[in-house]
């Protein structure tokens, strides 16, 4: 733990310094938003967008599972809360006040529409946070596997609730959602998510989370309010899952309860574990890798006629876990690895 502590000290300073780099990255995302569709096939473009949504999910789950060391299996549940609420809000608005969304003459999206969309995303995120707080508070007081069981149950309960709610279409799902989500918005929120999680982890609050992960008893002895720390991390993870759900709903334009079953939670957990528990860059890389891998294996299905995709997908996971049991990055970030390489070459320190 000592070495990790040192490297974080350095990167905290770097994190504060580079706020303008984050802004620049958002600008770059919007540049790509306008430039990429001209040069890239819609198919690859779509994969990139879904990969971005997966990055938000895995980075936010990493805050809970990786940095705080609590095993949550309810990410799909939080995603569905955010997705359904935000989609419900925008569809209601589009129905009652269509003039706020599209210009009746040119048919273009209006700024008010985008503001409502962003507000709906945030509302979805906040709703997920509240639900996360309610679910987290009792179960996070305990130590051990309780959170895993409670969140797994929660994910199923929320799915059944949506299945039986007529206002959001019940089993038939919610359709006719307006497609607001674009490459630019997805990657803006990817950058915001990474930024927020990064800053939290490298703050004093992040130290609390790490101390809980490493030794809860010792942390309590040092005067850390472990329950509060865990609940905060959990609620923040839920917020970004809710936002990702909103992005997802407004990209696919249709939602059904079956989309958010526990398999989706497991997919995100796999991304976190594969990337490395406690590595933000690991989660980013793993989310993109796994999303792209599934599509990259499609030609194989077309050639052989048998769907071997999931077999190979699973094999890749097994091999990865055998070769790198701590995930691709372990608890390191990309920056750490580059620095270490440089250090080794220079032979300094």
């Amino acid at each position: 733990m000592g070495s990790a502590y040192k490297s974080e000290e350095k990167s905290t300073a770097a994190g504060i310094m580079s706020l303008r780099w984050w802004m620049l990255a958002i600008g770059f995302a919007w540049l790509l938003n306008y430039f990429l569709p001209d040069v890239m096939s819609p198919y690859y473009f779509q994969i990139l967008i879904l990969a971005g949504i997966n990055v938000i999910l895995s980075v936010s789950l990493n805050l809970v599972n990786g940095f705080t060391g609590q095993f949550s299996m309810g990410h799909a549940g939080f995603m569905s809360v955010g997705g359904y609420l935000s989609a419900y809000l925008t569809t209601q608005f589009v129905e009652s006040r269509p003039e706020l969304f599209t210009d009746s003459v040119t048919g273009e999206l209006l700024a008010t529409g985008i503001v409502i969309y962003l507000a709906a995303l945030i509302m979805g995120g906040l709703a997920a946070t509240i639900v996360g707080y309610i679910v987290g508070l009792p179960s996070l007081r305990l130590r051990g596997d309780y959170l895993a069981i409670v969140t797994l149950g929660f994910g199923e309960i929320i799915r059944v609730v949506f299945l039986n709610t007529d206002a959001v279409g019940g089993a038939r799902g919610l359709s006719g959602i307006k497609q607001f989500t674009s490459f630019g918005w997805v990657y803006t929120l990817v950058i915001v998510t990474i930024f927020c999680v990064w800053r939290v982890v490298h703050s004093a609050h992040g130290r609390i989370l790490l101390s809980i992960r490493e030794d809860e008893v010792a942390a309590t002895a040092m005067g850390v309010n472990t329950t509060q720390g865990k609940v905060r991390a959990f609620a923040m993870g839920a917020f970004f899952a809710g936002v990702a759900g909103g992005l997802f709903a407004h990209y696919l334009t249709t939602l059904s309860p079956g989309t958010f079953d526990f398999n989706r939670s497991f997919e995100v957990i796999i991304m976190v574990v594969l990337g490395g528990m406690g590595s933000i860059s690991g989660s980013v890389v793993a989310a993109i890798l796994l999303t792209v891998l599934k599509e990259a294996l499609r030609p194989l299905q077309q050639i052989t006629g048998v769907d071997l995709r999931m077999v190979i997908y699973s094999l890749v996971l097994i091999i990865m876990m055998l070769a790198r049991p701590k995930g691709i990055f372990g608890t390191n970030e990309i920056g750490d690895l580059i620095r270490r390489k440089k250090g080794a070459k220079g032979g300094a320190t």
Partner: protein, 373 residues
């Protein structure tokens, strides 16, 4: 890097695979060939493949062979969307066939519509699917039609005058069927004597059934799913209600008999097709399906087969096989003899076609009659 490499390979293969004079017609299919609803996707895929095999044996369409590109979506809407984008933009298919589940068809339809590629859903019954746009069609009837079918059956065949309704208020499907049944049955001079309701998941229906018994109906319309219907049948017979129960395709499951047993005798429900239908088109289909796959086809296989057949017939009528022409030809489909009946595409791009009424007898579904729209 991984991504770049695949991108390069795919781009290269796309260039090689698309010569200027294409000798085959590419048709895309998206289905749930793995995942929890794999049986749906596999049945549909087999039906479509059989239709293509037969068409190719006849010399294809306008001398061109048909090539099927079928992609799996693992039962997930987002995968269905990606697969459709791939078919439409990478593989440049002429038309897309799929999906069974409405949730996935709804994810696919906007993409097909945006790119102006005709899409035919074999068996999505949600009315919203074809409302997406003028390139989206279906070859199955939608839920309201089944209500009308059973109303017609009740008044014409059962000579019923007074009918009771027991609807599942939690399901759009059941409520829709009940409303359309009521409307059609009243129009033909019948009377709805009592309208009771339950929520799916309930197990005790005695109070509803007692009040239904008091009104002495000639039949009871129970358009729910097989789990509750089985229980309702059992409890109704125990209360001494002997009149026939009527329902929709939600009854179509082997589980129905497991739950309801002999209580279900003398009950009828509407469905898409019956294997016992003696017409040549049905029997020929069953025969060739059995030779190809060594098993009897279910309803979804028949619908997949029909979706492909309707598409081929439309393609055959066009001059240049452009997307717009195929769309127009599909919209003009009239009295097309398919396995699941004569299909006419109406102005809302839904199929208007007959439904079959099946009688439940000792765990078997016997063909009773065909009701035309």
């Amino acid at each position: 890097m991984f991504f770049n490499r695949t991108l390069a390979t795919l781009l290269a293969s796309a260039v090689i695979a698309s010569p200027v004079f294409a000798s085959t017609i590419k048709i895309g299919e998206v289905g749930s060939m793995s995942g929890s609803e794999a049986t749906f996707g596999v049945s549909t895929h087999e039906g479509i493949s059989l239709a293509i095999k037969e068409q190719n044996a006849k010399g294809g369409i306008k001398g061109k062979k048909i090539e099927l590109i079928s992609l799996d979506n693992q039962g997930k809407p987002e995968e269905a969307a990606i697969a459709t984008t791939k078919l439409v933009t990478q593989d440049k298919v002429t038309a897309v066939l799929g999906e069974v589940a409405s949730s996935r068809s709804l994810a696919m339809a906007p993409i097909a519509q945006q790119n102006k590629v005709p899409m035919i859903s074999p068996s999505s019954t949600n009315p919203k699917v074809t409302e997406v746009g003028d390139y989206i069609f279906r070859v199955c009837f939608i839920d309201p039609f089944q209500g009308k079918v059973m109303a017609k059956f009740a008044s014409d065949e059962l000579k019923a005058k007074k009918v009771a309704i027991l609807r599942d208020v939690k399901s759009d499907y059941s409520v829709g069927l009940s409303n359309f049944f009521t409307e059609a049955f009243k129009k033909s001079g019948g009377e709805i004597v009592v309208d009771q309701s339950y929520s799916s998941g309930e197990v005790d229906f005695n109070s509803q059934l007692t009040s239904i018994r008091a009104k002495k109906p000639d039949a009871i319309f129970v358009p729910g799913y097989y789990t509750e219907v089985g229980l309702i049948a059992k409890q109704a017979r125990k209360l001494g209600i002997k009149v026939p129960l009527l329902g929709g395709d939600g009854w179509d499951s082997e589980k129905l008999y497991e739950i309801g047993g002999k209580s279900l005798n003398n009950s009828y429900f509407s469905n898409h097709y019956s294997q016992e239908d003696q017409s040549a088109s049905v029997q020929n289909f069953i025969k060739s399906y059995k030779t190809a796959y060594k098993k009897t086809p279910d309803g979804l296989a028949a619908m997949g087969y029909d979706a492909a057949q309707v598409l081929f017939a439309a393609m055959d009528k066009t001059k240049s096989m452009s997307a717009g022409e195929i769309r127009d030809a599909l919209a003009k489909t009239k009295d097309f003899q398919a396995v699941t009946g004569r299909i006419t595409i109406d102005e809302k791009r839904n199929a208007s076609k007959p439904a079959v009424v099946l009688e439940v007898k000792d765990g078997k579904f016997l063909y009773k009659s065909t009701v035309n729209p």
